[in-house]
């Protein structure tokens, strides 16, 4: 059945009317749609994990054993590193306190990720904390981090039961950073999806895996690690490709740090 032209125009007119209504009620529309969508996201998340677990039935035992062995080795190596890390972190906290620089002024607000960055082209993460269900005040512009030390972005909008987080990796966003132990200053440019580009003179020695930190927010936080270095002998510059040290698609919780 095709639409009669008159009906077609009616449908079109109705949509325009709804659009105008939506423009007027835009703030409330977000609250309503997020409230309606939230159960679907949570159920989808639950079933996604179930399906992933079920899919492991079809993985061969040999492959699982090999993977298990490899993971055990990685865990052992990381545990050894962690001992050093904890000692160093304690030293650093003591030093900062001695010099009057406390690491954190306030405890962060933990928020669950409802919709991740791959679901929209705007580098937005939707979380389940808003002005209606917050434990403490936070506002647009507050910093958002993941896994304690990794800087993600800023709060872009606060609705009743949800908030939008704009990632620093939004295309075109520039952020001053320092690279590696020698703290080479540079400007990271967002490329979307948690990725950044940095252009530096070719003579600077940057290695893959070097941490990239952001010193300008009072506390030292990591923006990412150097994932690849593009050096061309005919070019006086080199391009660094940064990536996050974890998979952004698997992100479940973020921490909002009220300023």
């Amino acid at each position: 059945m095709t639409y009669h032209p008159a009906n077609r125009y009616l449908v079109f007119g109705l949509l325009v009317f709804l659009l105008l209504l939506g423009l007027i009620l835009f703030k409330n529309a977000t609250n309503i749609l997020v409230t309606v969508s939230k159960p679907f996201w949570l159920v989808g998340d639950y079933w996604g994990e179930k399906i992933y677990t079920l899919s492991s039935i079809f993985v061969s035992k040999t492959r699982l054993l090999l993977e298990n062995k490899k993971l055990r080795e990685t865990v052992a190596a990381l545990e050894a590193k962690l001992v050093n890390y904890e000692l160093l972190a304690e030293d650093l906290t003591t030093l900062r306190e001695d010099y009057g620089r406390n690491r954190e002024a306030e405890q962060p607000i933990i928020a669950r990720v409802l919709s991740n960055v791959w679901q929209n082209p705007y580098d937005i993460i939707l979380v389940d904390v808003g002005w209606g269900n917050r434990l403490k005040d936070f506002a647009v512009g507050d910093l958002v981090r993941a896994h304690d030390t990794i800087l993600l972005g800023r709060v872009a909008a606060v609705d009743k039961f949800s908030s939008k987080i704009q990632l620093f990796s939004t295309p075109g966003t520039e952020i001053p950073v320092t690279i590696g132990r020698e703290a080479v200053p540079a400007l990271a440019v967002g490329r979307g999806g948690g990725n950044f580009n940095i252009t530096l003179p070719r003579s600077l020695d940057i290695a893959i895996g070097d941490p990239v930190t952001v010193p300008s927010f009072g506390v030292e936080v990591i923006l990412g690690i150097v994932g690849a270095v593009d050096k061309d002998s005919s070019n006086s510059l080199q391009t660094l490709y940064l990536r996050l040290p974890f998979n952004l698609s698997n992100l479940k919780y973020v921490a909002i740090h009220p300023s």
């Binding site: 659009l19 969508s37 919709s115 679901q119 929209n120 082209p121 705007y122 939008k164």
Partner: protein, 91 residues
């Protein structure tokens, strides 16, 4: 069958579900396919509005306009209808 009202409602519900669960580029591809298959699929604008309200951020969107997908689809539907008239489909 493709153009019946229940089918059209089904496409719209499917698109709304896709906005919630699928990557945005896959949603965009589905929208284009449905716009080619379904005549005068103006209902897709509602899916665009749903997308804008959920994910739109005035701090980033082109020209800081919060309803980019809605208006984009509202313009795209009649343009695609014009293009479809000059295309020949062999089934």
């Amino acid at each position: 069958m493709w153009q019946s009202i229940p089918a059209r409602v089904g496409y719209l519900l499917f698109l709304l579900g896709a906005v919630l669960f699928l990557p945005w580029w896959l949603v965009a591809l589905l929208v284009l396919i449905l716009l080619m298959v379904v005549n005068h699929f103006y209902e897709v604008v509602a899916a665009g509005f749903f997308f804008d309200v959920l994910y739109g951020s005035p701090q980033f969107l082109p020209w800081r306009f919060p309803l980019f997908a809605t208006i984009g689809l509202l313009l795209l539907v009649p343009i695609l209808e014009k293009i479809k008239k000059v295309l020949i489909f062999y089934a």
